[in-house]
């Protein structure tokens, strides 16, 4: 596995770990470890769920899907481009939603959950690493010499 893919994999595992913890504490608030009490407010706010599904669980599923796609990309060469596209789609959509959640924390809930912010930061770094890694995919093939 290439170095950047390993970095992506590690970041996705970290993201899945934090999201998994947040999913667990969503149902077991007593297990929440948080400095300042903001996590509790965020975790019990109405924005912590979408149609009854915890947002943290969605984050966990997203990171797990990214992990699976990174593995697929490394193991099954013919599906690599599909896996790449899948990873970017997941990351872009989740970044939009993470941005929205951060906006809610700052302007609506008025409380900060460090774990949620950490997850957003991991997602942003993961996106940047993947974008950097993918630049090779879109290198102009015209730099290949033409022949008579």
């Amino acid at each position: 596995m290439k170095r950047l893919s390993i970095v992506s994999l590690v970041l996705a595992i970290v993201g899945a770990g934090i999201s998994g913890y947040l999913t667990y504490v969503h149902y077991n608030l007593d297990a929440l470890v948080c400095a300042g009490g903001g996590c509790e407010i965020v975790q019990t706010s109405r924005y912590s769920e979408i149609m009854g599904i915890p947002v943290a669980l969605m984050g966990l599923l997203m990171f797990l899907a990214v992990i699976a796609l990174i593995v697929v990309r490394d193991r099954i060469e013919e599906y690599a481009y599909l896996a790449n596209a899948g990873i970017m789609i997941l990351l872009v959509s989740s970044l939009i939603y993470f941005g929205y959640l951060t906006y809610l924390e700052a302007n609506v809930i008025h409380a900060w959950c460090q774990w949620c912010v950490a997850t957003s930061i991991v997602a942003v770094i993961l996106f940047l690493v993947e974008a950097f890694r993918m630049r090779d995919d879109f290198r102009d093939p015209d730099d290949i010499p033409e022949y008579a």
Binding site: E78, A80, N84, Y97, V108, D137
Partner: protein, 332 residues
């Protein structure tokens, strides 16, 4: 200069993998020639590019290698287009999904989604009496604070809620248990809910303008003057924003009234006058005397002379439902 030995592969497998890769362009070229569709892959196309470059840079490259390199470049271009289309299309779809999720979960300015239907509502009597000096508890006849009511006045059980609008467990109760109590007990006339103020978390003196808990409670009673206590009450919870964060500053409280379509002049005058400060203090002090020590806490009274003071527990609605059910079943 001594010649370095070739770098040893970490796993020992790379050599064979590289060998396999070097064979791929030829296989792809063959596939292309026979019209077989070629599935794209990043590393394969990189290899193609490398092959092409090698073919170009080597002055002695054979014409067949050059043709192969051109084919590989064309394949790579096609794959790039395919991958780009896939990513752009997918991201567009993902953006739509993300926007839909945001719309579903957007902040509501209209308060809660509780359907009060045709349930009987009554503002706090002090507010219903109008903003006259006589309506204040000091000057009035009533010696006991009464809050707003929801439900049948003849219901056998009264469920009194003592809450602070800045308390997030109160908000949690408001979102989780409260609508269920309405559905399970209030709609069929078994329970009537009374809302009492218990400002506990605000900073500073309870009568100061900077005490957001007390100001929010006063604002709700002011809205009661216009028969909008419950709407305002729901809006306060919908705009919950932590404790003492300025969420319930006077300016914001006035803005909520405006958003609810209240007569803002009357509401602002009411809030600025502080005429319900003493009512809020009275509500809190009476609650304390009855054993209210935290928020949210409730008094379930079925008229048997022994009101049950209960607290919201981590078990959520289930325990509360059983306690209310018992009160309903044992009502005299």
């Amino acid at each position: 200069m001594s010649q370095r030995p070739p770098k040893k592969n970490r796993s020992g497998k790379n050599a064979s993998r590289k060998k396999n890769r070097s064979q791929q362009p030829r296989a792809r070229a063959q596939q292309q020639a026979t019209g077989t569709p070629v599935t794209g892959s990043t590393s394969a196309t990189s290899t193609a590019s490398t092959t092409a470059k090698n073919a170009g840079s080597t002055s002695g490259a054979r014409p067949s290698d050059r043709r192969q390199a051109r084919r590989e470049a064309a394949i790579k271009k096609e794959q790039q287009k395919k991958q780009l289309r896939l990513i752009i299309g997918g991201i567009a779809a993902a953006v739509v999904v993300a926007v839909v999720l945001i719309l579903v979960n957007r902040p509501s300015n209209d308060g809660s989604n509780i359907d009060y239907g045709d349930l009987a509502m009554a503002p706090p009597p002090i507010a219903a009496a109008g903003a006259t000096p006589d309506a204040s508890p000091e000057a009035g006849e009533s010696t006991s604070y009464q809050g707003a009511f929801l439900g049948d006045p003849n219901a056998p059980v009264t469920f009194t809620i003592y809450a602070d609008y800045q308390c997030h467990f109160c908000k949690q109760f408001h979102e989780d248990s409260y609508p269920q109590i309405i559905d399970d007990f209030v709609r069929d006339g078994q329970v009537r809910i009374e809302f009492r103020e218990f400002p506990a978390l605000g900073e500073g003196d309870i009568t100061s303008d900077g005490n957001e808990s007390a100001q929010a409670a006063e604002a709700a009673i002011c809205a009661g003057e216009q028969d909008k206590y419950l709407e305002y009450h729901d809006k306060l919870y919908a705009n919950f924003g932590g404790v003492n964060q300025g969420t319930f500053s006077n300016d914001r409280l006035k803005k909520f009234a405006e958003e609810l379509g209240l007569d803002t002049d009357a509401f602002n005058e009411c809030l600025d006058s502080g005429r319900y400060q003493s009512a809020v203090v009275q509500s809190r002090d009476e609650g304390r005397a009855l054993g209210i020590s935290a928020t949210p806490m409730f008094i379930i009274d079925n008229g048997n002379g022994e009101p049950n003071v209960v607290q919201q527990t981590s078990s959520g609605y289930d325990l509360l439902r059983r306690q209310i059910q018992t009160a309903v079943e044992t009502a005299p």
